[in-house]
């Protein structure tokens, strides 16, 4: 596994994420967010988890980004300026990044290269989902149903 491809993908992904965090227009931020998630999915592909990368693309870019765009369109009249920068948040984010990086670089046990493992096929994921992970799978299904019904109830028009 080469480091160059990962570093290039990571730089593009972080640039898109930074754009999503700092751009003034909401629509541009959403598109940058989708681009950053494409970068994350590319990193998943590089790490050998192709199925999860595809799930990420389908769920985030296919569903969540479109949902965000629709929400922006539905709340369009509110284009209040977001200009006054909050320096406290930026300072805290930089501090968190510094602390995490310091901890990661200091820990010797994570300075390892990837071992050779069997390629992850969808068959193995499906078998795991249908045997050892049936109970969590059903719980997640119930949670998704409840969350989507709850979202519908929240946005329904209130009766007068």
């Amino acid at each position: 596994m080469s480091s160059a491809a990962a570093v290039i993908i990571a730089i593009l992904m972080l640039a898109a994420a930074l754009a999503a965090a700092t751009v003034q227009k909401l629509m541009h931020a959403t598109l940058s967010f989708a681009l950053a998630l494409v970068g994350v999915a590319a990193l998943f592909f590089l790490l050998g988890a192709e199925f999860v990368g595809l799930v990420l693309v389908f769920v985030y870019i296919g569903a969540v980004a479109v949902l965000i765009v629709f929400t922006i369109l539905l709340t369009r009249r509110d284009v209040g300026n977001d200009r006054d920068a909050n320096w406290g948040g930026a300072l805290l984010a930089v501090a968190v990044f510094g602390g995490l990086t310091w901890a990661i670089l200091k820990t010797q046990s994570v300075a390892i290269v990837a071992p050779h493992i069997r390629t992850l096929t969808v068959k193995r994921i499906g078998e795991a989902l249908m045997t050892g992970y049936v109970w969590p799978l059903q719980c997640v299904g119930l949670l998704l149903t409840a969350a989507l019904i709850g979202a519908l109830v929240l946005v329904m028009e209130e009766k007068r």
Binding site: S2, S3, A6, L14, A17, A20, A21, T22, L26, F33, L37, V40, L43, F44, L47, A49, F51, V52, V55, V59, I68, F70, T71, T75, D78, G80, D82, A85, N86, G88, A90, L92, A93, F97, L100, T101, I104, L105, V110, A111, I112, V113, A114, P115, I117, R118, I125, E127, A128, L129, P136, L137, V140, L144, A147, L148, A151, L152, L154, V155
Partner: protein
């Protein structure tokens, strides 16, 4: 030069901090949701990285947790955006600085 776990972890930390920046420094509710989603994506990246760089396990636990985490964050995004729409209907704004009715 081969890829080490450290590189992936630092990238993930940078993505998390960017999400934190978006969630903390923005006033528009949708920006805050985007920041939260980026932090969740960074967590998923960590799960996949630790799965890939650790000895083989059957079943692939990190991948399983990442799949469940993606499903849960999708549910979270749906509910969050519905809340944004409900708040916008009620108050006519999505600026979180103006939603201070509970302030003492």
């Amino acid at each position: 030069m081969t890829l080490t776990l450290q590189v992936v972890l630092v990238v993930s930390a940078a993505l998390f901090s960017t999400g934190l920046l978006a969630a903390l420094s923005r006033r528009h509710a949708i920006f805050i949701l985007i920041g939260i989603e980026m932090m969740l994506a960074a967590a998923n990246l960590n799960f996949i990285a630790f799965w890939r760089f650790s000895p083989q396990s059957q079943p692939p636990v990190g991948v399983m947790i990442a799949i469940f985490s993606i499903a849960i964050s999708a549910a979270e995004a749906a509910v969050g955006l519905a809340l944004v729409i409900a708040v916008y209907r009620h108050y006519g704004t999505t600026n979180v600085d103006h939603l201070d009715q509970l302030k003492g």
